[in-house]
Every structure is written in C-alpha cells, then in structure tokens.
C-alpha cells in the first residue's frame, strides 16, 4: 500500500467548506484531509480540524534556560576576576539584572521562534501535493489516504462540492 493524495482546487471558500464537510460525512478521518489557502481565514471557516498546539510552553522553557545561563555567566564572570570597587560586594546585582533580563528575553524569543517553526511542522522539504494557484487566491482541499479504494470516493466528494480541478500525486 502506498500513500496517495489528491488535491481539489476551488475558486471560493464556500464550496471548499462544503468539500470538507462532505469528506467528514464520507467517513474520512480527521487529519487525513486539510485545506490550503494563500491567506489566513477565520478559524473554522472551512469546518476544518482546529489544530492543538503547545507553543506557549516554548517561551517559558527558553526563558528558564536563558535565566539560568545568565545567572551563571554574570556571577561566574565576576567571581572569576574578583575586582573590589569602592569596597562594594563583588557581585553587582543591578548590573547582573540587566544582563540577566536581556539573556532571559533573548532565550525566550529564540525558543518561541523554534516553537513556531516546530508547531508549523516546518521545515518540510517534501510538503506533498500542492498547486501554485493557491497563493493566487484558489483554495486547495488535500486528501491523503493509504487505501487506494478511497480515491474515487474522495474525488466524488470534491467534484460534488464544485472542485474546479483535481490533481493527483
């Protein structure tokens, strides 16, 4: 059995949403079909599966790492070269705070970007069936299946919904 996919192309959002509904009704499992657009639409505009994500964990995780590293870096740096200035303590907390703050934020931002890329399931150098007209306003409904016998069912649903064109891969 090989994984196959087909892509139905639509001019408008309404028939694409009908196709998504039709696929659900025809017994296709969530996650085996998806919608591709050239612009963000309101969530649920196509009755699509609303993806769950854990993006909010990434900045928190990054910030903890950044903060830990920054404490280590600023404290060890001063302790390694213990220059007493004006009889003050070696560890200059205010100066440390500035660097700790920046490093915590930097680490948080980097982790967020990693999170966005990861949660977008990127990089994906073999993204599968696609059509360049999607970025010209067409809407693609892509269906993936392991079972070849379902290709005809999916095609039928897409055609019934008003697909302008169907591509195979």
């Amino acid at each position: 059995m090989s994984t196959q996919s087909i892509l139905g192309l639509f001019h408008q959002a309404e028939p694409a949403a009908d196709a998504m509904d039709g696929l659900k009704e025809a017994g296709f499992k969530l996650g085996t079909f998806d919608v591709l657009t050239g612009t963000p639409y309101p969530e649920g505009a196509f009755g699509e599966h609303v993806p769950q994500h854990r993006l909010f964990r990434f900045p928190a995780f990054g910030a903890i790492i950044g903060f830990t590293l920054s404490v280590f870096l600023t404290a060890v740096t001063q302790l390694a070269y213990p220059m007493v200035t004006g009889g003050k303590p070696i560890l200059s907390v205010f100066a440390m705070l500035i660097i700790m703050y920046e490093m915590t934020m930097l680490s948080g931002v980097i982790a967020t970007v990693v999170g966005i890329v990861f949660e977008s399931r990127l990089p994906n150098m073999k993204p599968g069936i696609y059509d360049t007209r999607i970025t010209e306003g067409w809407i693609g409904v892509v269906v993936t299946f392991d079972d070849d016998s379902k290709v005809a069912d999916a095609e039928s649903v897409l055609n019934k919904a008003g697909a302008v064109e169907i591509k195979h891969a």
């Binding site: 998806d34 919608v35 591709l36 657009t37 050239g38 612009t39 963000p40 639409y41 309101p42 969530e43 196509f46 699509e48 599966h49 609303v50 993806p51 994500h53 993006l55 909010f56 900045p59 600023t74 740096t77 001063q78 390694a80 070269y81 220059m83 200035t85 200059s92 100066a95 440390m96 500035i98 660097i99 703050y101 920046e102 490093m103 934020m105 930097l106 948080g108 931002v109 980097i110 967020t112 970007v113 999170g115 966005i116 890329v117 949660e119 977008s120 399931r121 990127l122 990089p123 994906n124 150098m125 073999k126 993204p127 599968g128 696609y130 360049t132 999607i134 970025t135 010209e136 306003g137």
Partner: protein
C-alpha cells in the same frame, strides 16, 4: 476612511511583488550610486582605523561626538519596527498591515548600522572583542559586566536577534508565494527559505498566535534597549546634562518619535517608487500622524521635565550648561533648529487633516522630525562634555571633521542600500496581510452610507 478598494489576490501578487519579479528601472542606478557612496564610506572608515581617531574632531574633553550621536540616532530609528509591528499587532490595528514589514526591516538595518558606530568609535575595533566576549580563560581576564559597554551590546544584540527572527517568521508565507511565482535559482532559494510552507490552518494559526506571542516578548526588549542606551549617559554622574533619572523613558519616547517618523518617510517613498497607491493609502498616513501627535507631545513633556529637573536644584554648573545649550552660539542656533523641526513645525501641521492626508507634506515633516531628533541627541551628548573640565580653554572644543561627516553620510547610504537590496528579493509589504485584510473586511450599508467593516475573531 473609505479609501479601501477590493483587490483580488492575483492583482495583489502582481503589484506587491513588482520589486522582485520585475525590477523597476530606477533600482539599478540608485543601488549603484548608493553602492559607490557605501564604498567611499568604507574607505574613509578604513583610513580612520589605519590613522587613528586623530583624523576626527574628537579631542579632550569631547570624546563622544558625531559617532555616538549617530549611534543613538540609529538605535532610536530602530524603535519604529517594534512600535509599529508589535503594539499595533497586539491592539489589532487594521491600518498596521502595509507598514509592519518595512518597519521591522528598518529596525534590523538601523540596528546593524548603529552597531558600527561604537565599534569604529573605539579607534581599535578589534579590541572591543575583549570587552564583550573575552572569555579568555588562559589569561584570567573577563569582561566587566558592570560596565554599560557590556550592557549595550547585550541589549542591542538581543534586540537585533529578536527583530531578525521576528522578520523572518512573518516572511514565511510571502516566501512561499515567491516560490510559487519564480523559476530557476530564485525558485530554489525561495523553496529553501520558505521551509516548505503550504498555508494549512496549522501554519496560519502559528503565524497568528506566534506573531502575537513574539510581539509580546519583543515589547519589553524594545523598552529596555533604549533605556540601557540612555544609561550610558545617565550613570555618568560627573557630566551635567547626562546625569538624569528620567533619561530611560525620555530616550524611549524620543526613539519612538523618530522611529515612527522614519516609517512615514519610508512609506511615502515606497508608495512613490513602487506605485503602491492601493496599499499605502492616505488613511495610513493619517493614522500615523495621529499617533505621532500623541508620541511627540509625550516626548515634549519629557523634554520639559528633563529641563525642569535639571534646573530645579539650582546647581551652578548645570545652569551654566543649559545657558550654553540654549543661549550661546552655535548651540543656540542648533537648539532653535532642533525645537522647530522636532516639534514646533511638524506637530501643529499634523493637526490639520489636509496635511495628514497629503503624502508629500507627511514626507517632509517626518524628515524634519528626524533632523530635530538627531540634533537633540547631539545637544545632549556634546555640550555636556564640552564644558566638563574646569579648564575654560577646552570648552566648546569639538567640531566634527570631514571624516566624521563622511561616515555620517555613509550610514544613511548604507541603510538605504540595504533596504533596496532587500526589496529586490523580498516584498516590503506583507502580501498575506494585504490579502487577509481583503478577507476580513467588507463594506456594509448603514443607512445610505457604505462603510468598511472589519471582522475580528473572538480569540
């Protein structure tokens, strides 16, 4: 505000990718000219590094002059990006859409330029490595993290890295678009850069949620950067005019004033050069001008506060410094120009709708603001140092040399050169934002008036 036109996605692609798919005729000669200026500037910088800082006008007691003024100026300009992109994104301001990319780009390139100035100002730039990253364990020498010279690079490095990543993440959908419109090596380049973007709901959701999250994370960095830059001055207790507790917010609001004005300048140029009348409309200038009135007036309040706090103590050297700044030649002339250009001319003009909707007027008034804001930094930095010593004969000793002026010009050519180079390969207006605006906006009839209505998701 009913200037929006309904545009289809093919038209949006064709218009907003006209810099990448069809190079405009003016592009090559302009980039060549700027390239020549950039090369001349680099030669001058090399000469200065070779000969030493003796070729500049810097001398006792003014060790910080044009270079540090220009450094602060470009850090200020960099505040445009996050102000526009992050704050307006978080507040879901609809008019942000055509502005965000250019503003973020201005942040990145102006920060890159700003960083050059402390480096070359050091005279021996390679030694900066020992201040910042000198974990030279064998010699037991470590950087002094108590010094602002460490805080600055850490803060600016954080801001630059964050802004660049922010810019790249928001570019992903447009890189996918460019991949779809190109062939050959360009297609290969965009395919790699787009990371396999397809535009499924998961990816769009990450763009939205991630954009808001990054905006929220970048805002505290944005505030911290210019605060830290201001502390370079504020912690110098021996210099009148520098040692001020309100420098951090004063610098931040001044940076927003100059940064947003720079965005206005850039938007006008973008509209004229790429003919993006459908996307960058008078209503956007109107909104930015309203924002600028508030920011500029806030900045004016801080300027008066700074002056009031300085004079309240009746400290003789402080009073003498302020007298010099405002009443002695040539500082008084600079002070008048600063005050006129940073506030007194542009802000009253922006009160008129006719001016706010006139792109040429907005262009010139925004340039005036930045002339004034550069002078503001010059008037903070130089006079304070010029009369620092008790030896009267050293006062007012600073006059920038030709080398400094050439490097100053180089900075402007360099930023413009980088922007134009970027525009050749990447869109300056986010296409997906322009398209999203079409999806989320519709005209509704209220009585007999047709009014644009914006649809917003609940979360």
């Amino acid at each position: 505000m009913q200037q929006r036109r309904e545009l289809d996605q093919v038209y949006i692609n064709r218009k907003l990718l006209n810099g990448q798919l069809d190079t405009p005729k003016w592009w090559a000669p302009t980039v060549t000219f700027l390239g020549v200026v950039v090369v001349i500037g680099l030669v001058v910088i090399s000469i200065m590094i070779n000969k030493g800082l003796g070729v500049t006008g810097l001398s006792r007691p003014v060790y910080w002059g044009l270079f540090i003024t220009t450094f602060v100026f470009w850090v200020g300009i960099s505040h445009a990006g996050i102000m526009i992109s992050a704050i307006l994104r978080l507040t879901q301001a609809e008019w942000r859409r055509p502005v965000t990319r250019a503003a973020e780009l201005l942040t990145v390139f102006s920060l890159l330029t700003a960083l050059v100035f402390p480096l070359i100002h050091a005279g021996r730039p390679w030694r900066i490595a020992y201040w910042i990253m000198p974990y030279d364990i064998s010699r037991g020498i470590y950087p002094n993290i108590r010094s602002p010279l460490i805080m600055d690079p850490v803060a600016i490095g954080t801001y630059l890295t964050g802004s660049t990543l922010f810019l790249y993440i928001a570019l992903l959908p447009d890189l996918g678009n460019l991949r779809d419109r190109t062939t050959g090596w360009q297609n290969a380049m965009y395919t790699v850069l787009a990371l396999g973007w397809r535009g499924n709901p998961r990816q769009w959701k990450m763009q939205t949620v991630g954009g808001i999250l990054l905006s929220a994370l970048m805002l505290p960095i944005f505030v911290s950067v210019h605060s830290i830059v201001s502390w370079d001055f504020a912690i110098a207790s021996a210099v009148e005019g520098w040692h001020s507790t309100i420098f951090a917010p004063y610098f931040v609001i001044g940076a927003v004033h100059s940064g947003v004005s720079a965005v206005v300048t850039m938007m006008a140029l973008m509209r004229w050069l790429w003919k993006w009348d459908d996307f960058i409309r008078p209503e956007h200038f109107d909104a930015l001008a309203r924002l600028l009135i508030v920011v500029a007036t806030g900045w004016l309040a801080f300027t008066f506060l700074e002056l009031t706090f300085a004079l309240y103590g009746q400290d003789a050297p402080e009073i003498a410094l302020r007298e010099m700044q405002m009443f002695q030649w040539p500082w008084n002339m600079l002070f008048i120009i600063f005050f006129l250009t940073a506030y007194l001319i542009p802000v009253p003009l922006w009160l008129f709708k006719r001016v706010r909707n006139n792109i040429a007027m907005m262009f010139w008034t925004s340039i005036l603001v930045n002339v004034g804001m550069w002078l503001e930094r010059f008037l903070i930095i130089v006079p304070g140092l010029a009369r620092r010593t008790p030896f009267v004969y050293t006062w007012e000793a600073y006059r920038p040399s030709g080398v400094e002026w050439m490097i100053f010009i180089w900075a402007f050519a360099w930023v413009t050169f980088l922007m134009l180079l970027f525009s050749r390969f990447f869109p300056l207006v986010p296409l997906f934002e322009a398209k999203e605006s079409q999806v989320f906006t519709d005209d509704v009839m209220i009585g007999r008036a047709k009014v644009p209505a914006i649809v917003r998701e609940a979360d």
